[in-house]
Amino acid sequence: PQETLRTALAVGADRAVLAEVGEGVALGPLEVATALAGLVGKIQPQLVLLGKQAIDDDCNQTGQLLAAMLDWPQGTFASRVQLEGGSVRVEREVDAGLETLRLRLPAVLTADLRLNEPRYATLPNIMKAKKKPLEVIPAADLGVPAGPPRLRVLQVQEPPARAGGEKVENVPALVEKLRSCGRI
C-alpha cells in the first residue's frame, strides 16, 4: 500500500496518510467508511474523492456510507466535476443518462471511469515524492472496530450456462412459442 501512495505523491499529491489495518483483517465498505470518517475528523477536508466501486468486491457502497456518516451531500459516478466557490457542480453517469447536481461543500464524490485520464508522474516528481510526508495511523485509532468482519461471503457462483436458442419458421410460430413459454 505504501507503493500506491508513493505513486500518488509522484503524480502530484502533497501528502499521504496510510490507515494501517492488521494482517489478514478483512475490510468491508462499512469498515473503510468508518476509517475515512475518522480521517475526515482529523484532516477536515472540503472534498472527499473516492472511486465509485472497488475491483475486488464491486460493492459501490463506501462513498455513500461515508456521506451518510458525515451527513454530507454526495455526488456518485461523477464524470465531470467543477468547483464553484463554496459548492461543486457534478455531472453524474446514471442509467437514464447524465444528471447534473450542485452540492454545497463539504461533500463526498465518487469517480466514474470517464472523469479523467490519470496523468503521468514526471521524473522530478517521483524523486520529490520521497520527501513528501507519509503518515501511518493504525485503523483502530480511527474508530474501526476490531473483531471479525460483519460480512462473510458464503458462495460465489457463475450464472447457469445459457441454454441454446431455438429457430422458428415464421412470425405466427414465434408468437405461439412466446405464448407457450408464458412470455406474453
Partner: protein, 406 residues
C-alpha cells in the same frame, strides 16, 4: 489465425501493467529500487499509450514524432542524466538505462533518437561553460529544440579520429568546411554537436563545436532511405564556409575527441538498453504466438524445440540486461574500466538482442515477415545497433586492447 498488429500495443500494455506469471523470470523490475520501479512504470506506461499504437505508422510514413517526444520531455525524458539546474532530471546512468529499455518497448527507433539527443545535451552540460549550459541545455531538455551528434564522415567511420571536417580559426569565429554522414535527426534538428579538426592530424587535433540550424553555410543532404530507424530522419550534414562563433566551442581546442568518446560511453549503454527493450517485447510476442498458433493439432508451445528456443531467448535477455546494468553502474561510479565495460555491454546486448528478435520473428512463421506484425519492426530497428555508436567490431578492439595492453 494468429494475432494482428494490435499485438504490439497489447504487449506493451502487458509490460506496463507488470503482469507476472510466465514472464516473471525476465521481469525487468527485478533488483531495482522503489524509485527506479517508479521511473520504469512511467516509461512503460508512456511507451504503451503514447508510442506503441503509433510505431508502425511512424515507421511506414517516416514520421519524426516531435509532439510525442515533447510530451516525453515534459515527464523529464529530454535530459535524463543532465543536471537539474539547466532543466535536466539529474538521474544516474542506471536509471537512464532502465528508462530507455522501457520506452523502447513502445518504439525502438524513436527511443534510440531520444537517447542520442540526451547524449548531446549531456555533452554540453558536462563540457560546456556556464554560459553555454544556460544557453543550450534548457530548451534541449524540454525538447523545444532537438540535437544531433556529428562525428562520422563519408571517409571516417570506425577510424573516427581521421575525420577531415576542418574548422579554421578566423578572428572570433571558426569557419567549417567538410561534411558529416549518417547523422540521426540531421536536417530536422536544431543543434548540432560537431567534432571537427582545429589542429593537426589524429585525435588531439579535434575540437567540439555546437552549430545551430540556420547558420549560413550549413546545409543537408537528401534524407536517407533506411531498413529501420524510420521514425528519425538521417541525412548528411554539409559545411561550406560555415562560420561558427568561438563561444560555441565546448571545452578546449583538442579536447573534442575525448568529449566525443565520453559521450559515446553513455550512448553505448543507451543503445544497448534500447536493444533490451525491443528484445523483451519480442520475447512476449513470441510467447503469445506460440500459445495461440496451432499446427499438427496442438499449440506450437507444446513443441520442445520451440520451448527450448524461448528459454534460450529469455536467458540471453537476462544475461544481456545484467551486463548493461553492470556497465551503467560502473560508468556512474567513474570506475577506471567503465569505458571497456560499456563496450562489452554494447557488443553483447546488441548482438544477443538481435538474435532474440530474429528468433522471435522465425517463431511467427510467415506472419513474422508481414508488416502487420510488430516483430519485424523490432528486428529491423535494432539491426543497426550492432553498427552505430561504434561497430561491434570496434567494441572488440576496445576490449582486446584493454586486455592485452592494460
Amino acid at each position: 489465425m494468429a494475432m494482428a498488429w494490435r499485438a504490439a500495443p497489447r504487449v506493451a500494455a502487458r509490460l506496463a501493467l507488470g503482469r507476472r506469471g510466465i514472464a516473471s523470470c525476465i521481469d525487468p523490475s527485478v533488483g531495482l529500487t522503489e524509485d527506479q520501479k517508479e521511473f520504469q512504470k512511467v516509461a512503460l506506461d508512456f511507451a504503451a499509450k503514447e508510442m506503441a499504437p503509433y510505431m508502425a505508422e511512424w515507421d511506414e510514413k517516416e514520421i519524426f514524432p516531435v509532439e510525442t517526444m515533447r510530451k516525453a520531455a515534459q515527464l523529464g525524458f529530454g535530459g535524463i542524466y543532465v543536471k537539474p539546474d539547466v532543466g535536466g532530471s539529474g538521474l544516474s546512468r542506471l536509471d537512464t538505462s532502465i528508462i530507455f529499455e522501457a520506452l523502447s518497448t513502445g518504439c525502438t527507433s524513436t527511443t534510440a533518437y531520444m537517447s542520442i539527443h540526451n547524449m548531446c545535451v549531456w555533452m554540453i552540460d558536462t563540457f560546456g561553460s556556464e554560459e553555454q549550459r544556460r544557453r543550450f541545455c534548457p530548451s534541449l531538455c524540454s525538447m523545444e529544440k532537438f540535437a544531433s551528434y556529428c562525428l562520422t564522415e563519408p571517409g571516417s567511420g570506425s577510424d573516427a579520429a581521421s575525420l577531415l571536417t576542418s574548422a579554421q580559426r578566423k578572428g572570433d569565429t571558426y569557419v567549417l568546411n567538410g561534411s558529416k554522414a549518417f547523422i540521426s535527426g540531421g536536417g530536422d534538428t536544431d543543434v548540432y554537436v560537431v567534432m571537427c579538426r582545429t589542429g593537426g592530424p589524429g585525435p588531439k587535433g579535434i575540437s567540439c563545436l555546437v552549430v545551430e540550424k540556420g547558420t549560413p553555410g550549413l546545409s543537408f543532404g537528401k534524407k536517407e532511405r533506411k531498413v529501420g530507424w524510420n521514425s528519425q530522419p538521417t541525412r548528411a550534414v554539409i559545411f561550406e564556409d560555415c562560420a561558427v562563433p568561438v563561444g560555441n566551442r565546448l571545452g578546449a581546442e583538442g579536447q573534442g575527441f575525448s568529449i566525443a568518446m565520453q559521450g559515446l560511453n553513455g550512448g553505448r549503454i543507451n543503445i544497448a538498453s534500447c536493444s533490451l527493450g525491443a528484445a523483451h517485447a519480442s520475447v512476449l510476442l513470441a510467447q503469445e504466438h506460440l500459445t495461440v498458433r496451432k499446427q499438427f493439432g496442438e499449440p506450437l508451445a507444446n513443441n520442445q524445440y520451440l520451448q527450448f528456443g524461448l528459454a534460450e531467448m529469455a536467458t540471453r535477455l537476462v544475461a544481456a540486461r545484467l551486463l548493461v546494468r553492470h556497465a551503467a553502474r560502473a560508468l556512474q561510479d567513474g570506475r577506471e574500466d567503465a569505458a571497456v565495460l560499456c563496450s562489452m555491454a554494447k557488443l553483447f546486448a546488441t548482438d544477443e538482442c538481435f538474435l532474440i528478435c530474429n528468433q522471435a520473428l522465425q517463431m511467427h512463421g510467415g506472419y513474422g515477415y508481414l508488416k502487420d506484425y510488430a516483430v519485424q519492426q523490432f528486428v529491423r530497428d535494432i539491426r543497426v545497433h550492432q553498427i552505430l555508436e561504434g561497430t561491434n567490431e570496434v567494441m572488440r578492439m576496445i576490449v582486446a586492447r584493454s586486455l592485452l595492453q592494460g
